[in-house]
Subunit: 228 residues, 2 copies
DNA sequence: TCAAAAGTGTTCTACTTACACCCATGC
DNA sequence: GCATGGGTGTAAGTAGAACACTTTTGA
């Protein structure tokens, strides 16, 4: 059967010591006036990945910044869109604290909101709360065994910057000494620039860039509950 | 835009000490006569998950057996299907050594073939080799931190059965003593039945059922290469 | 008695954790 | 000086790797 296909984006960043997501205010029915994840229709000769990149640039207005972008999953409940049969391929994008999104690219206002707020039942249109929850969960678990946390940092960054990303996304404090050892020991993850950043307070911190490694080895396991 | 949507299945099992995948011989163009992953069109009022379950039952003929089924990802290259714009949501299914598939449910012959063979360039129609590779990779990495390996075992099973699954899928021998300690230590993963299985040779092995836990804690990490 | 697979024990090493303590800067 | 974050050191505990060794069966 023939269906409409859209791409929706879960764009996450860390702002003000909080994990935030980019949402837009819908300008048309259905759900007019409500908040939703940015997204749009798949076009004729493009892949879903290409559509996601296009939407990402349209919504954030950024071009040069290196973002992480990956397919999350496809949502297909026949009742998810009142207009008819529309399935959506959701993408997860992670980036550093981006410039406040330029409103109006798509005649829609865009805002950063804390995921804590946006994940509440009914906060977003369609099934976007579910999509957001899945995206946040993916991000949380990927911090354990990949280096994607660095995608939330503007280069160059310090070990402290990176630790704050983990603390915000996992919602737990981490021991600074042990964190630094783990992350610096993981081969190929961090590349020292040789410079240091002078803080308003405290000892200057060494600066790093993202290294070539995309997997954290050994992984950085959260202390999950050891139960079902 | 309006596109056709299909569901394709990567159905894996362990047979004859090999990881094998279910493939069908195509009865119609395009790629008539070639091997492909089983699949079919999404219908009017069903979700992708429902379509995947339906196809799975049609192809394997099994009904009662508990299988693991999860969405893999959606493939959308505009050129992936010569008939036109068709995107496909791929699913990964894992099961115990199933009865040889009943041919003819869909007027197509179905076969188990080793993934080693089916993953070769050109072995399958469409982009199915890529889909299969992604499915196998997903299965390999999920063995590390989940209990899905048990889905390849017919209950009740022994620790040795389970170890053989890991060895076949990872393609490496594992130390039997250490394997048993890890897997039995993981709380809630294995549930002893109290019985033992008498082998043709060797000491009888304790029998287990799948426990409630779906995550392996602590995880069972392969010794990856510690490089990018 | 021997082969084979199940299962236990032990040693060595590596990583995690917790926490003490020193360093370098702004105020 | 002192507060503040950066960074090093270290001892205790835990998990993994390697492998010796015992157990229980069929042949």
């Amino acid at each position: 059967m023939s269906v409409s296909v859209t791409v929706d984006l879960v764009i996450l960043t860390v702002r003000d010591d909080e994990l935030q997501v980019l949402v837009v205010e819908r300008g048309n029915p259905p759900f007019e006036g409500q908040l939703a994840l940015p997204g749009g229709y798949l076009r004729g000769r493009e892949t879903l990945d290409e559509a996601a990149v296009r939407e990402l640039h349209e919504e954030t207005g950024v071009d040069g910044i290196r973002l992480h972008l990956e397919q999350l999953r496809t949502y297909s409940d026949p009742a998810r869109d009142p207009r008819g049969r529309v399935i959506t391929a959701a993408y997860l994008a992670l980036g550093p604290d981006l410039p406040t999104p330029v409103a109006g690219t798509d005649a829609r206002e865009a805002y950063w909101v804390p995921v804590k707020t946006a994940m509440q039942d009914g906060a977003l249109a369609f099934d976007h709360v579910q999509i957001l929850r899945d995206g946040v969960e993916r991000a949380r678990s990927k911090l354990e065994y990949t280096t994607i946390a660095m995608m939330f940092c503007t280069e160059p960054f310090t070990v402290g910057d990176l630790r704050r990303v983990y603390e915000v996304i996992w919602g737990m404090p981490l021991d600074p000494s042990n964190f630094r050892r783990k992350i610096t020991r993981a081969d190929g993850s961090l590349e020292p620039t040789g410079d240091r950043r002078v803080h308003t307070t405290g000892r200057p911190a060494a600066l790093y860039r993202r290294g070539a490694a995309s997997l954290l080895m050994p992984p950085f396991l959260r202390t999950h509950e050891y139960a079902s």
